[in-house]
């Protein structure tokens, strides 16, 4: 089954973001769910250390703890929503997307490494494409538009080096 028209899908996504603004006062996010999960996991191993760490502490010492977090439940919803949409459209299938010259193992390694680099960037930027670009972008935040600008500039700068691996 074909994908939706990108403009219509974008308007749909914008209405979801608007609903988040109206119902909760804040927008969407994704990297924050990783932060609270990381904080909760570190706290499970070393509770004293996690509580005293300036980054993890914010999540660990919050009144509800790291696991009762808004963004964590939102991202679980993203997983379920993505699954439902693909299931309804007959698009569920196990595969590793990669270029023809790239082995499954190296694609998984590059994907993992890219994810880790994004993790560092998202911590520094206080959010990602969801929390900064979409949410902060719609609210006209200067930092969010700055994030969007440098993120896409860096991705375009890296693109020629990466393009070959996607043939």
């Amino acid at each position: 089954m074909k994908y939706s028209d990108p403009y219509l899908a974008g308007v749909g996504l914008g209405l979801v973001l608007l609903a988040a603004f109206v119902l909760t006062g804040h927008g969407l996010g994704a990297s924050g769910a990783f932060a609270t999960t990381a904080a909760g996991s570190v706290a499970a191993v070393a509770p004293g250390y996690a509580a005293s760490n300036a980054y993890f502490g914010r999540y660990v010492n919050s009144p509800d703890g790291p696991w009762r977090d808004w963004l964590l439940f939102e991202i679980l919803g993203v997983f379920v929503g993505g699954f439902l949409s693909a299931a309804l459209a007959g698009r569920l299938r196990g595969l590793v997307e990669r270029g023809s010259g790239v082995s499954v193992r190296s694609r998984l390694a590059i994907a993992f490494g890219g994810g880790a680099v994004m993790g560092l960037g998202a911590v520094l930027a206080r959010g990602c494409t969801s929390g900064q670009a979409l949410t902060g972008g719609a609210l006209l935040s200067v930092g969010s538009w700055g994030f969007m600008l440098t993120a896409f500039a860096a991705a375009y700068a890296a693109a020629p080096a990466i393009k070959g691996s996607w043939r």
Binding site: K2, Y3, S4, D5, P6, Y7, G10, L13, G14, L18, T24, H26, A30, S31, A33, T37, W70, E74, G77, V78, F79, V80, G81, G82, A86, R93, V96, E97, G99, V104, R107, I110, A111, G113, G115, A116, V117, M118, G119, L120, G121, V123, L124, A125, R126, T129, Q132, G136, A138, L139, L140, S141, V142, S144, F147, T150, A154, A155, I162, W166
Partner: protein, 238 residues
């Protein structure tokens, strides 16, 4: 408990919309960076325009109070640096944090690897956070908006963003006419349905944006506000 159910429900709708657009596929996402497929730009800016115009007009009609919306604090330097690092990782991974969950949910192993990598990267950054903290906290630390930066009314900036997005859509549609077709993309990823809704949506966005520029502020003009303005100033300032 209700807030977590709302969070879950909003997440379901978010994930559904991303998958519908095809953004669970790293090949489709990276097409943006190789100038082959502009779905990312079209979806992102359509979403930003919708939410931006929506908040402006809901506020203007008095249905929401825009002062209660949480605007992320700006720390300009760490956000610019974080953005550059993020963009590099984004190009390598082919997915961003939100879309990596959609990719994993639709059965893609590379999506699951990005999820694992993000978890590792955020955890590692947290472990070394004390060294990063001075930089992390630098540069401002308050809500700072484009209308404040440009010294323009909110509604005028709304119109400028609409105009910029529509110009970008028009530009990529010109570029897209003679792009090389990615044969793998055609095989793996079904093309988009052509509904030709774009033109009407563009006209609606431009009309709402122009009206926003004329209205200037997303705050409903009230009698109370006029009364406050009209009230005589106390002789001695406090």
């Amino acid at each position: 408990m209700t807030d977590l159910l709302i969070a879950f429900a909003i997440g379901v709708a978010f994930g559904f919309a991303l998958e519908r657009a095809g953004l669970g596929s790293a090949r489709k996402l990276t097409g943006q960076f190789f100038l082959r497929d502009f779905t990312v730009l079209k979806v992102m800016f359509s979403a930003i325009l919708t939410a931006m115009l929506g908040t402006f007009w809901l506020g203007r009609l008095g249905l929401i109070d825009v002062a209660f919306l949480y605007i992320p604090d700006t720390h300009l330097l760490p956000q610019l640096a974080g953005g550059a690092i993020f963009g590099l990782g984004f190009a390598l991974a082919g997915l961003c944090p939100g879309t990596s969950w959609v990719s994993a949910a639709t059965g893609r192993g590379d999506g699951a690897a990005v999820v694992a990598g993000l978890f590792a990267g955020v955890t590692a950054t947290g472990l070394f956070f004390s060294r990063l903290q001075p930089f992390y906290e630098s540069g401002g630390g308050r809500a700072w908006t484009l209308p404040q930066l440009l010294h323009l009314p909110y509604g005028v900036v709304v119109l400028l963003v609409v105009a910029m997005a529509l110009a970008a859509f028009a530009a990529v549609n010109v570029i897209a006419k003679d792009i090389e077709v990615d044969v793998h993309l055609r095989r793996l990823v079904p093309p988009e349905r052509r509904r030709r809704a774009g033109g009407w949506l563009a006209i609606a966005a431009l009309a709402l944006g122009a009206a926003a520029a004329a209205a200037r502020t997303p705050v409903k003009p009230t009698k109370a506000a006029h009364a406050v303005k009209a009230a005589p100033r106390p002789a001695s300032g406090c």
